[in-house]
């Protein structure tokens, strides 16, 4: 799953110490709601959404629900005018109780059971993504209702998570698939691509936009039902390393590439991580300590089977914070609550003396954290609360 070149998680940033207000803020949340917690900040989601709108003007944003499928996140984004990328019936069902119309969604899973298609149509989701003829044939019975995006695979070499291997047709297959679709009375509304996730540089996005533009122009040249949509996926990076991320510098080449597209082409994007990662903070509590060899072990009530699951599935390292700023630190292990020895959040991380009941804060923990947490050992997942 991991890209073999380019992005690598840097050394994990750890912050020692906290202002009295900060400390009071986390401790009162735990006093009120218990531990472990995931704290969603609506204002941060809104800030990320506005930032992305500014960086990619004119691009319709479809939040990839899978990143954090939580009602308060969806509601916050819906109120801002965001659209939604759904990949399963369950994700669509999250929208219905919130009165979010299926017209604000696209269904992006390239492989579907026929009942998935029917459930999506019942939910009002009428745009589907495919990457081969067999999947296109499943859409035949519904061809008069739907729009289809053809997913094209471009390999990104600067991404943390490579999404081009599992799905997507080769660019050279596009004209042939478009012809086959037209012959069957299916309209290909446009192309979509995902170069990967947490891209270090925008080069892959830019190259994919340019290649898609040529492919669309070529197909439209001899097709009187033109493609009209380009879905540039997601993959926009957030700052896990604490190095600071110059959004304008990252997005400018992509923005310029999009500005070169024909005016009547609609561009959409499927941001997930970018919108939610910085908006969520994890709070865990030290529940036990042990001295093993040269190493100090701290056992927390959240770990890689829980909110820190993204360290395994998503290959991310989240910035940590403890309140003790004592410069005397020793190599420590932060372990999760399950019985499994893989359940370790951080090894050889310098830590001041922590006591039972001390809090360990995980920052940037909105994307692919709670979404992939398990119930291993029958431990409850961290409670999600929403503030702001």
């Amino acid at each position: 799953m991991s890209g073999e070149a380019g992005y690598r998680p840097g050394p994990r940033p750890v912050r020692y110490g906290a202002s009295p207000e900060e400390r009071q803020f986390y401790e009162s949340l735990v006093a009120e709601h218990g531990s472990p917690l995931l704290v969603v900040r609506r204002s941060r989601i809104e800030a990320q959404y506005r930032l992305l709108q500014r960086q990619l003007p004119g691009v319709a944003l479809y939040y990839a629900i899978k990143a954090l499928p939580h009602a308060s996140v969806i509601e916050t984004l819906a109120a801002l005018g965001c659209h939604f990328d759904v990949a399963s019936e369950g994700e669509l069902e999250l929208l219905r109780p919130l009165r979010i119309s299926g017209r604000r969604t696209i269904h992006t899973h390239p492989v579907k059971k026929p009942e998935h298609i029917k459930a999506a149509l019942r939910g009002g989701s009428t745009t589907f993504v495919v990457d081969n003829l067999e999947e296109m044939n499943k859409l035949l019975p519904f061809r008069h209702r739907i729009g289809v995006l053809l997913r094209v695979s471009f390999r990104g070499d600067s991404v943390a998570v490579d999404l081009s291997r599992k799905f997507g047709c080769a660019p050279e297959q596009v004209p042939e698939l478009a012809r086959a679709a037209t012959a069957q009375g299916i309209h290909i509304r446009g192309l979509s691509f995902h170069v990967g996730s947490q891209s270090a540089r925008p080069d892959s996005h830019v190259a994919a936009v340019e290649q898609c533009a040529s492919l669309i122009a070529a197909v439209n040249a001899d097709n009187d039902n033109p493609m009209s949509t380009l879905d540039i996926g997601g993959g926009f990076p957030v700052d896990y390393d604490g190095q600071g991320l110059d959004a304008d510098r990252w997005f400018r080449p992509l923005r310029e590439a999009l500005q070169r597209l024909p005016e009547d082409l609609s561009v959409i994007a499927e941001p997930g991580r970018f919108l939610v990662a910085p908006a969520v903070t994890a709070i865990a509590t030290v529940t036990g300590r042990a001295r093993r060899g040269d190493c100090q072990w701290y056992y927390l009530d959240d770990g890689v089977y829980g909110s820190y699951s993204g360290q395994l599935f998503d290959h991310m390292r989240y910035p940590l914070q403890v309140f003790n700023d004592d410069p005397q630190r020793q190599p420590s292990v932060l372990a999760g609550p399950t019985c499994d020895s893989i359940d370790i959040i951080a090894e050889d991380v310098p830590m001041p003396e922590l006591g039972e009941g001390d809090l360990v804060i995980g920052h940037m923990m909105g994307a692919y954290t709670a979404a992939t947490s398990t119930r291993f050992n029958s431990l409850n997942a961290a409670r999600i609360i929403t503030i702001d």
């Binding site: 069902e93 219905r96 109780p97 009165r99 119309s101 299926g102 017209r103 029917k118 149509l121 019942r122 939910g123 009002g124 989701s125 009428t126 745009t127 019975p141 519904f142 061809r143 008069h144 209702r145 739907i146 729009g147 009375g185 309209h187 509304r189």
Partner: protein
Amino acid sequence: MKEFQETLYDSIAQCFRIDKMYFEHKTEHQHLMIFHNAFLGRVMTLDGIVQTTEKDEFIYHEMMAHVPILAHGHARRVLIIGGGDGAMLREVSRHRAIESIVMVEIDAEVIEMAKQHLPRHSAGAFTDPRLQLVISDGMEFVRGAESGQFDVIISDSTDPIGPGEVLFSEDFYGQCKRILAPGGVMATQNGVPFFQLDELIQTRERMGRHFADQSFYSAAVPTYYGGIMAFGWGSDDPGLRQVDEQTLQQRFREAGLETRYYTPQIHRASFALPAWVQDALDGYGQ
């Protein structure tokens, strides 16, 4: 401003202003609304699709009830599948000569909700003493019903994608054929051919396997966006679709019906299909 935007088609959608919400029922599995629109009156929607409006429901219900009943000429026993809002029942029960009406609705709550929030649809018809109301799955009912007991069957179903799907199956048409008396006829809701031509052809194939005479008739229902809507027609008597205007006039008068859309002339004309629909049914132009 609140709006309802229909979600039937990817590239086109009709949009209604919601002037007042009367009823909303949303679960993980379905979303039903009844709201007021300044022009249409009360509007009922299910899962993003318009089901019925007070302003134009008469077209749909008059055409689905009176065409098969008056074509048959001496219908005494009528089966309605679906139609929980009660308007189909209202139109059927206007025929005094009908002796029994069986209505099979899968969801008792729909009936209660419609009585309360769409009262003009049933207009009191649920108290008709000839009515036998059965709360059951339509498919299960026809499977278990005795052969040859109905003169007219009206399938007032929802969209073929969703709970109504089974009412578009070949098995359903076969069971309906079996429980119709000789000379009986069934009429079905079959969508808007302009957008749903594949469904039309599918009904031709599936219903056509069971009835000597399978065809469609049509009417334009404004809020079923897209031009004419098709009603499926199945009978073993080809004569039922050829009844002359004079005979229809006489039956219409005898029934004492007052209608706003249906007339014997409309009845005759509604079986004439546009060339592109006829071609598609004949296997051309697909």
